[in-house]
Symmetry: C2
Subunit: 133 residues, 2 copies
Amino acid sequence: MDGLTIQEAAETTGWSSRMLRYVEREGLIAPRRSVSGYRLYGPEELQRLRTLRGLLERHGLSLGEVGFALRLSRDPDMERAVELWLEARPRRPEDVPAKDWLRFEQEKHQRLLAEAAQLTTPAAEAATTTTTT
Amino acid sequence: MDGLTIQEAAETTGWSSRMLRYVEREGLIAPRRSVSGYRLYGPEELQRLRTLRGLLERHGLSLGEVGFALRLSRDPDMERAVELWLEARPRRPEDVPAKDWLRFEQEKHQRLLAEAAQLTTPAAEAATTTTTT
DNA sequence: TCAACCTTGACACAACCGTGGTAAGGTTGG
DNA sequence: CCAACCTTACCACGGTTGTGTCAAGGTTGA
């Protein structure tokens, strides 16, 4: 049975086991299960749990908010609706000609994706884990 | 004194005046004020209030969630952090070679922006308002 | 002037969130 | 077999959300 049980995972990540179940119900981190239903946390999940903790703390976010961001990213229809509503802020279209704004947005996302690609170096995840052996 | 007072705005938008103040405190819609501090709702705000209502209902969102989306869009640092965490979902990099995934993401955003540009035709907003006269 | 608005601030209250605990029962490994 | 885990499903409980109402005071317009 490879992978840490919920209590072990709790100890190495700083979450309580109770909260690990909660995090799972929020859809954020769902470890695979053993045949008998035990949660089995692998290095990826452990790392994600730690970075999640950091994310919340550094930006003052709640689990629910990150869960909402996840829902957004999984429901492009909803995401589009929200973004459209937000973009429609009272702002004279003459101020920023649409073309430029569009270019700006594209560049923003390209920048973002570049960073993402950089930070997602495949080996990095597993390496940091303490309990890999 | 042009613009509707809070109660008038409430009547035409279906929100209660109490909720209009709440919506404002969430940072979603802040009408300008008269010299004496009265809220004055213009056609833009009224339209946004109606579409907001629709947005919430159609997607089962809460004011707080839209408020969070707003915070996200105003704090690119936070947005980037959240997106990065979400993108790092357990997914074998071998499954989808990074290049293709990147292209897919870019295309997604271009599609989105195209739609946005289309729906943001400048005249549309003011036209639909009932109280323009 | 005076009724009918507006403002902010407070109290209230149900419903939900984050979190812990406990109970009843299954799994595991020595 | 048995201690020490695991599972789900509840109760609890303070904090936040969404919403109403009320109070004390300023503004407006006939």
